[in-house]
Amino acid sequence: MRLFDILGPIMVGPSSSHTAGAVRIGLTARKLLGEAPVHADISLHGSFALTGHGHGTDCALIAGLLGMQPDDLRIPNSYALAEQEGLSFTFSTVQIRNAHPNTARLQLTGASGRTLDVVAESIGGGRIRVSSIDGIEANFSGEHNTLIVHNQDTPGHVAAVTSALMQRHVNIATMQLFRNAQGGYAVMILECDQPIPTDIEQWLSHIDGIQKITIFNQEDPS
């Protein structure tokens, strides 16, 4: 519990879960994609689908995809801005089994052709949880300095990543490993106490089998 969680965030209304949380989901998905998206297929589940329009959930998600923060006054006009910036999108309603009532699935295509399929939940107070990346189970909030590594599931990658962090004096707070199959596609999510130096991206990208690196650093204080 942080002081500025109870007093704050500064946000565009009307709902911290349906609006601010939805912006964060869009923004987090954009960061995970690693570039500006040019197309998004968005599916809404539960309360997001039922009361989404009245709460501006749809324009909030698009605003996040365009890189806006939850306090951006342009959020209500995000549809028009998306057109200007060349982001096309579709919305549909979906039933996801055992999903949180405020869940969105975003299937994105970036300018370079890169794709991402992410499922995220808005868990209240504007906070979110990413529950799936490219079909692989995940669990992180985006509230901490986070390093995400996509790699082939072969020995040595965890050691390479953790020793790279150790050399940079970055302490790991939590660490999660997910994979679709033994020897298949794996995702490593490390939440850290210190900001993650950006040079780690170049360093790790030279290692065989590491496919994608994403760094989220927090602003101070948020």
Partner: protein, 294 residues
Amino acid sequence: MSFSSIASMLEAAKSADKPLYTVVCEDDCQENNYTEEASHRQIQTLWEAMQQSSKQYCASDRSNSGFIGGDAEKLRLAAQAGALIGGTYLLRVIEEALKVAECNACMKRIVAAPTAGSCGVLPAVLLPLTEEKQLDTEVILQALYIAAGFGQITAIRANVAGAEGGCQAEIGTASAMAAAALTHCMGGTAEQCAHAFAMSLGNLLGLICDPVAGLVEIPCVKRNVVGAVNAVSAANMALAGITSHIPADEVIDTMGEVGDTLPASLRETGLGGLAATPTGKKITEQVLHHEQSL
């Protein structure tokens, strides 16, 4: 926050011989590795955003559903015409609560305190106070730290989400935080702030969360008024030396327990309370029809 009770937070301030707001600020900085300068900048930014959330009010704005907008202006005009009772400060509190809550429903920028649905309460008691009294901004910022300290303990011991604890958790907590802030601004002691907090929260126990069509509109906007006026009453009682017979920590625990026993229909599902009235259902149908036609 490292404190798990209001009693221990007050005790820490007493034993360190520091003001309560300093203890709250230092604790947060230590827990989250912020500098005190960064924390002060952020609390200043929040106060400016609260002021702005009132200034941006536009009487012709309407929410997406079309049900919210224009009420704060009606109140202001009637007060100006001398048609209302309650004195200048109280009428301004009601007006500001409506203003900020209406702005929230109309997708303007607000400060969640503790939630977006209850964003009108804290600015409603503080903004008119700065018109009424010659207050140093520093005192307002101190009051915001105090409000945040009490709010954090409420979130830790109980919860501040309507979906979990009903409206008592949102408007109730906002009201209690505002009562403590107001007591500080009026020169009350840390103990008086705690009494104001306890009386304010205690008076709203059991308040249900029953949004029509599931939207943060009906009755949420007007409940901000209830929270703000209740905060003024509780702060006045505390400043007069009236104490809460039940300590603040026990009131918080009770709020959490009452929330647990509320049926799901009264916890932000839009299935009970005012949402389930014949008119509430009719509005819900209208809103859903509007959704499907988009």
